[in-house]
């Protein structure tokens, strides 16, 4: 399989009251066709912004993409005209968002919101679009699909709405699906259903998926490779197994190896690292993780380590000391 997407040194900034926030600060990665990639990090680390940047949907003002290349099917998306970009959005690259309750338009029927995409990108007639929409709703497991086309979003539950969102996203058989915290707002049992659905349908259609989440359990189960983001940068990348068994960056180790506590529920336990994510408009000169890192020394404070590995393997990390760390003693059970 060939390379579907290559992101090179992507940079996105926001103007805020405190100054310029480098939300995405030189992110590079690639994605093979049909691959499922995990993009993991705490909220505010720039993972959602990097996904929106791929589609050039950063609200401007206050944000703007200041540099980098996004090579998708051999063309640089950053160089396309707005019109060309529109023919890619929803067609070749589709996106599912975090909030199923607010991501659908409350005053339009589900049918209208489904049909407009295929009418726009695939030139379907209204009748054909309706037939296609019924198929799509059946595909995502919505019973009685035909009669539900005339319903409005508020007549669906959260899980059902997210299924509709998936149906909309997959309606033009995209090459790439961006799932931005697509299950975070849902109940745990529904979360699993939705993720299974995304996994199965993407396999069926040969669609590559980028799963953006703060939940390592989700990534462990569904992703082939994982990018860990911190403060606007990718700080570790490897296969899901590598990341889980021998995480090299203290941040990843912290995320995974936090001591299990019975008095905290599982969600919180996974993210319990000392301190808070840094303010992106006031980053320290060296490694951004220094303030929270138990292993930091003067070298870390002075210079940001590059994303690399000592032995030339594909498992890369941005830490001067990463090679010193072995497998985690306590390996978090995969969710």
């Amino acid at each position: 399989m060939g390379t579907l997407l290559e992101v090179r040194d992507l940079r996105t900034e926001f103007n805020s009251e405190g100054g310029i926030v480098k939300a995405v600060d030189g992110v590079s990665y690639d994605l093979q066709e049909g691959e499922t990639l995990g993009l993991v990090g705490e909220s505010g680390c720039g993972k959602s912004v990097s996904a929106l940047s791929l589609l050039r949907l950063i609200p401007n003002p206050p944000g703007r993409i200041v540099g980098g290349e996004v090579i998708f099917e051999d063309q640089d998306l950053m160089k396309l005209s707005e019109r060309q970009m529109r023919s890619i959005r929803g067609n070749k690259i589709a996106m599912i968002f975090q909030e199923p309750m607010t991501s659908l338009n409350p005053v339009l029927t589900i049918g209208r919101q489904l049909t407009e995409t295929v009418e726009l990108h695939m030139g379907y007639s209204p009748e054909a679009a309706v037939r296609r929409s019924v198929e799509l709703l059946e595909m995502v497991g919505i019973p009685d699909a035909k009669s539900r086309l005339s319903n409005y979003p508020h007549q669906f539950s959260g899980g059902m709405r997210q299924r509709v969102m998936i149906a909309i996203a997959l309606s033009c058989s995209p090459r790439l699906l961006l799932a931005d915290e697509a299950t975070t707002a849902l109940d745990v049992t529904i979360q699993a259903q939705i993720l299974e659905l995304i996994k199965n349908l993407s396999t069926e259609l040969g669609t590559a998926v980028i799963i953006i989440t703060h939940n390592l359990g989700v990534v462990a189960r569904y992703a082939d490779r994982v990018n860990v983001m911190y403060a606007g940068k990718i700080i570790e990348r490897g296969t899901a197994d590598e990341i889980y068994e021998t995480p090299k960056h203290p941040y990843t180790r912290g995320l995974l190896g936090s001591v299990p506590r019975l008095d905290v529920d599982r969600e919180d336990r996974l993210a319990s690292i000392e301190g808070m994510p840094p303010d992106l408009d006031r980053l320290p000169p060296g490694c951004s993780f220094v303030p929270r890192c138990p292993h930091a020394d003067d070298h870390c404070r002075a210079e940001m380590p590059p994303l690399s590995s000592k032995d030339g393997s594909e498992h890369v990390y941005a830490c001067w000391k990463g090679h010193e760390f072995g497998p985690l003693e306590f390996v978090q059970a995969k969710a």
């Binding site: 589609l55 949907l57 529109r86 959005r89 929803g90 607010t102 991501s103 338009n105 005053v107």
Partner: protein
């Protein structure tokens, strides 16, 4: 939804009754004898005095000898059965005829203003929001602030002053029914409608703009963009219907201010609507006319709010299906 509408309509009746009690109460219970007030005014104008008999006769004529609750019920019933509270003291014209003659004029002026405002304000508001904080936005916002803070009779006076002194034009005299002479009718109505529309559309532009800004920041607009829809579809299909919901509601409430402006401009431009009559009646202490016309204006306003509420339920599917 039928339930929702039924509840609104049922609530409308006690609201009307309460409004009529307030109007009646203001004119009767406040200090001062109505008959004395009327005769005092006439006496002052005529330079003479008045006798006890005259007072007694007038009191009987106005029904002031009845206890207040009876007076109220009589008046309220006359509003329902079409008498509208009898006749004018000054001209002895029946109120039913006054209202039949004048209500359509005020309605027309209001409708022209609202239509004109919507046609202008909605596109401008959208435009202003799409160019947020760029110069077209600033220009429009400045115009809106000016339109909202300049008293409309002052704008009208400026306009007349300019027309009269600079181009020697003065507003056409007399009024023509739209069915009789539409051209003359519009010639008369256009100026007050434009002036009222400046203020009203200034308000509508502001709320359209802020509603649009709010909607443009919504997740579903991001979804629409992520689908690859162009700006036109994003605005027309995904944003406008959501913006119109608050715009209709707030616009409906603002018609109250618009009616106030209508009252003043009808007097200034000599337009024979309810506003002109109620002011003349107020100056002339023609209590039956003031009372019934005030009720008609309030009824009009409350009725409009009801219509807006019902229209709202048609636009917003969340209300329609609950």
């Amino acid at each position: 939804m039928q339930k929702y509408i039924a509840r609104r309509v049922l609530l409308f009746i006690p609201t009307l009754i309460l409004a009529s009690i307030l109007i009646f109460g203001i004119l009767r219970i406040l200090p001062g004898d109505v008959a004395l007030a009327i005769l005092g005014q006439e006496a002052a104008e005529g330079g003479g005095g008045y006798t006890e008999t005259q007072i007694r006769e007038l009191r009987a004529e106005l029904g002031l000898d009845d206890p207040l609750p009876i007076q109220y019920v009589k008046w309220a019933w006359s509003m329902v059965n079409g008498d509208f509270g009898g006749e004018s003291i000054r001209s002895t014209e029946p109120l039913s005829s006054i209202i039949a003659r004048r209500l359509p004029v005020t309605l027309q002026l209001t409708v022209y203003t609202v239509l004109l405002s919507i046609i202008v304000a909605v596109p401008l508001g959208v435009f202003s929001a799409l160019y947020q904080d760029k110069w077209p936005d600033y220009v429009l916002r400045m115009g809106a602030i000016l339109g909202q803070s300049m008293p409309n009779f002052w704008i009208a006076l400026l306009l007349l002053l300019f027309m009269v002194t600079q181009i020697g034009w003065s507003p056409p005299l007399g009024y023509s029914n739209i069915w009789v002479d539409p051209f003359h009718h519009l010639q008369i109505m256009i100026w007050p409608a434009l002036i009222l529309a400046w203020r009203f559309s200034a308000y509508m532009t502001r709320i359209t703009r802020s509603g649009m800004l709010e909607v443009l920041a919504q997740d579903y607009v991001r979804t629409a963009k992520a689908k690859g829809l162009g700006q036109q579809l994003v605005v027309r299909r995904h944003s406008l219907p959501n913006v119109l919901i608050p715009v209709i509601t707030l616009g409906g409430l603002e018609v109250s201010t618009l009616l106030g402006g209508t009252v003043i401009l009808e007097n200034l431009f000599g337009i024979p609507g309810l506003g002109q009559e109620i002011v003349q009646a107020s100056v002339g202490r023609d209590f039956p006319v003031v009372q019934s016309l005030a009720m008609m204006l309030v009824f009009f306003m409350l009725g409009l709010n009801l219509v807006v509420d019902i229209a709202y339920s048609y636009v917003d599917p969340r209300v329609r299906y609950s």
